[in-house]
């Protein structure tokens, strides 16, 4: 045990006086807090994503509803998704799974105003929100702004399987796959036709060369 130095009389009374003084001060502060409004947002009772309900509640913080760039669970706008797999590659924990097939070529402007060309369509776009850590790394490189964070943060599900968000419905996938098959056969036909024409052209040229 540390040996304590002996207190002088002045220090002894100083201790008493400062003890009483600081106690007085501390108690005035804790009493002052009792007169103020509570700061808790009673979450399920108050809709914290809306500014109006927050203003009506006791909350007086900086938050005015959810901020515009709140990182909730991911949502995908398949209309502008080009299935380019950039988000899948960017994800550090591999919670995005995409498979794609060829589709009709389509040109449009993405959400950031940049022109994009779609050549492939997703037949599977699964995000495992049980794994997702909401880092936003998939959103940043997306060329069209198809994948983005929503403001939804309530993500409890009944089972583990439901934790996987499947954005492409089986019907859509089947449609895309059928279309891809058509395109492939078309392309194969085209190729065959091209090969044929090439061969014919060659055949036309060759005799000339021979001649």
């Amino acid at each position: 045990m540390n040996r304590k130095p002996r207190l002088s009389f002045k220090a002894y009374f100083g201790q008493i006086v400062s003890g009483v003084q600081t106690m007085f001060e501390g108690m005035s502060i804790s009493l002052a807090s009792t007169f103020l409004k509570v700061q808790t947002v009673e979450y399920p009772d108050v809709d914290i994503s809306s500014r109006e309900s927050l203003r009506q509640s006791t909350y007086k913080g900086n938050m005015a509803g959810m901020p515009e760039n709140y990182r909730g669970i991911l949502k995908v706008d398949l209309d502008i998704c080009t299935a380019c797999l950039i988000c899948m590659k960017a994800c550090p924990i591999d919670c995005i799974a995409i498979t794609n097939v060829k589709c009709d070529k389509r040109k449009f402007n993405g959400k950031s105003g940049k022109a994009a060309v779609q050549t492939r369509a997703a037949t599977r776009f699964d995000i495992d929100i049980g794994k997702c850590m909401f880092c936003g790394l998939c959103v940043i490189p997306c060329p069209t702004g198809a994948i983005a964070h929503s403001k939804i943060f309530e993500m409890n599900r009944g089972s583990l399987a439901e934790l996987v968000e499947r954005f492409v419905t089986p019907e859509q996938a089947a449609k895309h796959e059928a279309r891809a098959l058509e395109i492939e056969t078309e392309e194969a036909e085209k190729k065959a036709a091209k090969a044929k024409t090439d061969a014919e052209a060659k055949a036309k040229v060759e005799p000339k060369g021979e001649a």
């Binding site: 045990m1 540390n2 201790q15 400062s18 003890g19 003084q21 600081t22 106690m23 001060e25 501390g26 502060i29 804790s30 807090s33 700061q39 913080g61 900086n62 938050m63 901020p67 515009e68 760039n69 709140y70 990182r71 950039i86 590659k89 960017a90 994800c91 550090p92 850590m133 909401f134 880092c135 936003g136 790394l137 940043i140 490189p141 964070h149």
Partner: protein, 372 residues
């Protein structure tokens, strides 16, 4: 009648103990309440972040650095991002640097508030802790506005920041500072200047300069021992060389230099310095881009790189051994908490169990940073 046999009592403090702030275990031998031996046992929160990073892309490591030290995720991001920027020789835009300084300092304040608050709580004063958390919520709101998350921000990217600051954000920060400056002083009057509190913290477990150097203490723990050392001043990174701020050191505020109260007070003074830095940044914030041009897949040159930065827990270093691939060959994090906890056996001989709680609190140990 035989001689009365006495022996030391060995107690496990932790892994589940209210005051070890996470899962740390101390094996203490006590004689009554006086500690004769105290041995920290770490590793209960080991998540092998260093190993995981060997399979990740360079940009994909950033969210993992959030989790290394969750109390100052911005500063952790910053420390890592600086190492990579050094590797690929990218110049960060000036606006991005100022944004980084601002979010870093805001996060430093919020981290120190947790450190101060938990120490208060360990001393038995619960109200200051909750009131500090209330003020911290405002900082969380501010950081949520810029980054979209409240704890694991992943805001800094290699070569800049991910999102620009929202409109009016600077006003909001200034408004917050106007509110927070007196509020922090009020919190001090509530607990820090309390006579009981000072008596408990002062002259407790003093760390001399020599001992601090021996154990390689960093950050506020080292400054508490009266050493003027701060990476922001010693090896200025970012725009810290342009900013005007003091480095508070322990001067024996309550008793001896380097005691628990000094370490505690250094954090409070640092909060004031951070406020000063923030006010300057609001005035100096330039316009411009927020992100340098960096390729999507970064392929740095071979070699090893080390960067230091000043996080709330001191000099945090990221050592990267690169083999020229898309992920590091080896990444090593050097954290202030680890050296902080390693000094506990040396300074906790002969103190009481209640004092050990104060010592742990004043060293500001964060368990995930300790074990990575």
């Amino acid at each position: 009648m035989g001689k009365l046999r006495t022996e030391l009592m060995t107690i496990n403090m932790g892994p589940q103990h209210p005051s070890t702030h996470g899962v740390i275990r101390f094996i203490i031998d006590t004689d009554g309440e006086v500690i004769h031996r105290c041995e920290p046992d770490v590793g209960y929160l080991h998540r092998s972040i260093e190993k995981i990073t060997e399979h990740l892309s360079w940009q994909g490591i950033v969210p993992f650095t959030d989790r290394v030290d969750y109390l100052c995720a911005m500063n952790s991001n910053w420390a890592y991002v600086m190492a990579v920027e050094k590797m690929i020789a990218v110049e960060v835009p000036r606006r991005a640097e100022f944004i980084r300084v601002m979010v870093g300092e805001l996060n430093r304040i919020s981290s120190h508030m947790i450190a101060i608050g938990t120490t208060d709580m360990d001393m038995g004063a619960f109200t200051p802790f909750i009131q500090l958390l209330r003020e911290r919520e405002y900082i969380n709101d501010l950081l949520e506005m810029v980054s979209g998350a409240r704890l694991t921000y992943n805001y800094l990217s290699i070569g800049g920041v991910n999102y620009d600051i929202p409109r009016n954000w600077l006003f909001k920060v200034e408004e917050f500072l106007n509110h927070f400056d007196p509020a922090m002083e009020q919190m001090n009057r509530l607990c820090t200047y309390n006579r009981i509190f000072i008596n408990r913290m002062a002259n407790l477990a003093p760390i001399s300069k020599e001992l601090a150097f021996d154990y390689n203490l960093v950050g506020p723990n080292l400054r508490g021992s009266g050493v003027k050392s701060d990476v922001r001043r010693d090896q200025p990174y970012s725009v810290y060389s342009e900013l005007d701020f003091e480095i508070p050191v322990g001067e024996g505020f309550g008793g001896e230099v380097g005691d628990c109260y000094d370490r505690f007070m250094v954090r409070i003074l640092e909060v004031r310095e951070s406020i000063k830095i923030l006010r300057q940044c609001i005035k100096m914030m330039p316009e411009g881009p927020i992100q340098a041009k960096v390729k999507n897949t970064i392929k740095p040159p071979e070699g090893h790189f080390y960067s230091r930065s000043e996080t709330p827990r001191g000099d945090t270093g990221y050592f990267i051994e690169s083999s020229g691939g898309t992920s590091p060959y080896r990444l090593k994090i050097r954290s202030g908490s680890f050296t902080g906890i390693s000094i506990t056996p040396a300074i906790s001989k002969g103190i009481l169990i209640a004092d050990l709680v104060a010592v742990i609190g004043s060293l500001d140990i964060v368990a995930p940073e300790l074990d990575r």
